[in-house]
């Protein structure tokens, strides 16, 4: 996600780390680097200024210069400050009214309609009765777009009548929702510039006339310095209650998130990580701060793995692995589970250390990984059940047959068997470890290794 910022900061800290103690001079250097990195990350200049000033104050004020590992202390300061800036904890929508209402606001093309679809689906999954309201009366096919997305999400949709104003539609939708027992109403509005007074008034009216408690600004993660002025105006005129950051599947450094969060004080409720309806994730400020500082997003990765992977299957496999009975059948299942985890690039984005790898390299490595697992899958599928259970049976003649059957080369079959052996060896080590450690700790280990 925030690759380049991570890279710049890592570079700074690497230089700092080499030194036993920090001099005022290198604090200054480091802060200059941090400042440059944040600006290049599109953090608003005033936010950067305040941020750097605060960090400087803390670093100078305390006994950091004489402490044992000043470099690490410095990192911690920057990290803590960044985390505070991003907001402390996960915040939910305001659900105090029934039906609860959400108005989506923002510039053109940021992802309001798509996110309306994603939220509709999410609330529907919670068992709520959802109404999506298409309030974009200007852009060609905007209402049609929402209609398609609402259908995908399996929720109802209301569009404007010919000649109807946004305000009138809002009121009609509100009444309709009350009358028909909807739990959630989401108003998708058309894109507008914050400097377009007339159009901003239109959504200000909509928010007040519908009495919606949730007024959400949608922001493109790649947005530049004007993010602050956009957020300030929408906040003044509509009283924002939350932010949603979209397109985090790109490689934008995402300074807009820091900026808008710190200027409006509104929490970031969710993040968008793709075009599909399931690409909506909760926002965790602490993880984001870790990520910015190059610590990777291991927790997200583990959690993603847990929701996507069949838990029972994993438990069964874990047992077999520890009992030393792992065979190629299990290996195949493992490959298939991995596939479910989604795109390798997405996973790699969450892994520590990966920020040093460029987007292209990542894409390439992911592609290679995918081709390889596809190949492995094909090879195992060309084996007989007996071969899968007892891989030691696979002699060179069988290897030739399997290679021909799966459209691969004998070398590929050898690669697979080698990798399988390595995995087996690993699990044996784990087993020994487990024996020495006792059940509970080993389970914990195993879990954290997934």
């Amino acid at each position: 996600m925030f690759d380049q910022l991570t890279q710049s900061l890592q570079k700074t800290f690497k230089n700092l780390r080499g030194q036993g103690k920090l001099s005022e001079e290198n604090v200054k250097d480091a802060l200059r680097e941090v400042r440059m990195a944040l600006l290049e990350a599109d953090v608003h200049f005033q936010v950067v200024k305040d941020f750097v000033a605060k960090v400087r104050e803390q670093v100078m004020g305390e006994d950091v210069l004489n402490s044992v590992s000043p470099g690490q202390q410095f990192i911690k300061r920057v990290h803590d400050e960044m985390e505070a800036l991003l907001g402390e904890k996960k915040v939910d929508f305001d659900r105090s009214t029934h039906p609860m209402a959400i108005v989506m606001l923002g510039l053109h093309g940021v992802g309001k309609t798509t996110t309306t679809g994603k939220l509709s689906r999410r609330f529907k999954e919670e068992g709520k009765k959802v109404l999506a309201v298409g309030c974009d009366i200007r852009r060609p096919a905007a209402v049609e777009q929402l209609r398609v997305l609402a259908e995908q999400a399996g929720v109802d949709m209301l569009g404007p009548n010919p000649g109807e104003t946004v305000q009138a539609l809002g009121v009609r939708a509100k009444n309709h929702a009350v009358l028909h027992g909807y739990d959630v109403v989401i108003y998708d509005t058309g894109g507008r510039l914050q400097i377009d007074d007339e159009l901003v008034r239109e959504v200000a009216d909509l928010t007040s006339m519908t009495g919606a408690k949730n007024k959400v600004l949608v922001i493109d993660a790649a947005m530049g310095q004007e993010s602050v002025s956009v957020a300030e105006t929408f906040n003044e005129r509509c009283g924002l209650t939350g932010l949603i950051l979209t397109k985090l599947d790109g490689d934008a450094r995402g300074g807009a998130a820091l900026s808008v969060r710190s200027v409006t004080g509104c929490p970031i409720l969710m993040i968008g990580t793709g075009e599909k309806q399931e690409d909506l994730q909760p926002f965790y400020p602490d993880r984001m701060a870790n990520r910015i500082l190059g610590m990777g997003d291991v927790i997200s990765l583990v959690e993603k793995a847990q929701t996507m992977v069949d838990e029972d299957e994993m438990a069964r496999m874990e047992k077999r692995m520890f009992s030393g009975k792992m065979d190629l059948e299990d290996f195949l299942k493992q490959l298939q589970q991995m596939k479910k985890l989604g795109s390798m690039t997405q996973i790699m984005d969450m892994m520590p250390g990966m920020p040093n790898v460029s987007a292209e390299q990542k894409a390439k490595a992911a592609e290679q990984g995918q081709t390889q697992s596809k190949r492995f899958e094909a090879i195992i599928l060309s084996m007989t059940p007996r071969e899968r259970q007892r891989p030691q049976l696979i002699n060179s003649k069988r290897r030739q047959r399997i290679a021909a059957g799966s459209g691969t080369r004998v070398k590929d079959v050898n690669d697979l068997l080698k990798q399988f052996k390595q995995t087996q060896k690993m699990t044996k080590k784990l087993k020994a470890f487990k024996g020495g450690m006792g059940g509970k700790a080993a389970r914990h280990m195993a879990r954290s290794m997934r």
């Binding site: 290049e40 490689d251 075009e275």
Partner: protein, 305 residues
């Protein structure tokens, strides 16, 4: 048609005072004004490292130079921009096929409509290809524009193969004796390699009909974005070599200063047009002087919004 200057007038003149103080001829530059100037340029999304360079040029000039600071800055910026003097619609072949590319929501479909409108105004026969078969109602959006503008549109069903639509559009453009074919593509995040590969596939499909095509590959860049625009452009350029840029949404308050970085890293790709609104007529030729003037906000000191 909205003029550039009119559109800029809509823009709140955020740093006019800061810069005007500095760049009025013969003004003294002290630490404070230099800092203000730096802030103004940063706020215009100029790459921070270029800003540092420009500031040190100004300092240098103050010590040794004779040129007024206003001109130093303006010339420094102007010299870095690339525009094209000749008619961007003139390819010397018929039909000429232009592919519109970019990340999600940049303004490709709207720009496609604007280009059709402009080309028709110049008496060119235009066909539109709706090759965004992915996004909900992506095709429908361009079809509606086509109806409004009276321009024919070749489209496929949602979920169908975009390359097939592109090929069909090429076919139709030949068969119907069109001058220009603009192909609208789906928004794609540059980080998704399979989507970038799809783009290359689309190019190969077009080339089956005409090996010289596409005659133009224009990337649409959203002015409100920041420094990431460079990475977007680089990766798109790697996938399909770009021949032109269009900057959209310049009617907003953002100044698209990232463009200097794009020019520096991908030399020689001219900015052809700028989008200044949501309507078909809100497209003007890129004007480097006006762009720099806009950056420096330069609202000629009238002080109105």
């Amino acid at each position: 048609m909205v003029s550039w200057v009119q559109a800029l007038k809509k823009t709140r003149n955020v740093f006019a005072s800061a810069i005007q103080g500095v760049i009025s001829d013969g003004a003294e530059i002290d630490e404070l004004t230099l800092e203000q100037l730096e802030v103004a340029l940063i706020r215009a999304d100029l790459p921070p490292r270029l800003v540092a360079e420009l500031i040190s040029d100004l300092e240098e000039n103050q010590l040794h130079g004779t040129q007024p600071p206003k001109e130093v800055l303006r010339d420094g910026l102007r010299a870095r921009l690339v525009m094209q003097e000749t008619d961007p619609f003139d390819f010397g072949v018929k039909p000429a096929c232009i592919l519109l590319l970019g990340v999600n929501g940049a303004g490709k479909t709207t720009t496609c409509a604007k280009l059709a409108h402009r080309a028709a105004d110049m008496d060119r026969k235009v066909l539109l290809g709706a090759a965004d078969t992915f996004r909900a109602a992506g095709t429908e959006q361009l079809r509606l524009w086509g109806e409004r503008l009276n321009a024919p549109v070749v489209s496929g069903r949602q979920g169908s193969d975009a390359s097939a639509v592109a090929f069909d559009a090429m076919d139709a453009a030949h068969a119907r004796g069109m001058d220009l074919l603009f192909i609208d593509t789906a928004g794609r995040m540059h980080t998704k390699s399979h989507l970038m590969e799809e783009l290359r596939k689309m190019v190969r499909a077009i080339q089956k009909r005409d090996p010289e095509a596409p005659h133009g590959t224009w990337m649409i860049l959203d002015a409100s974005l920041g420094q990431n625009s460079l990475n977007q452009a680089k990766i798109f350029h790697d996938a399909v070599p770009l021949t032109g840029l269009v900057i959209t949404k310049l009617d907003g308050s953002s100044k698209a200063g990232f463009l200097f970085n794009v020019h520096q890293q991908l030399p020689g790709i001219p900015v052809l047009f700028t989008g200044l609104g949501e309507q078909a007529e809100d497209l003007v030729r890129f004007d480097a002087d006006a762009f720099v003037e806009g950056l420096l906000s330069l609202g000629s000191g009238t002080g109105d919004d």
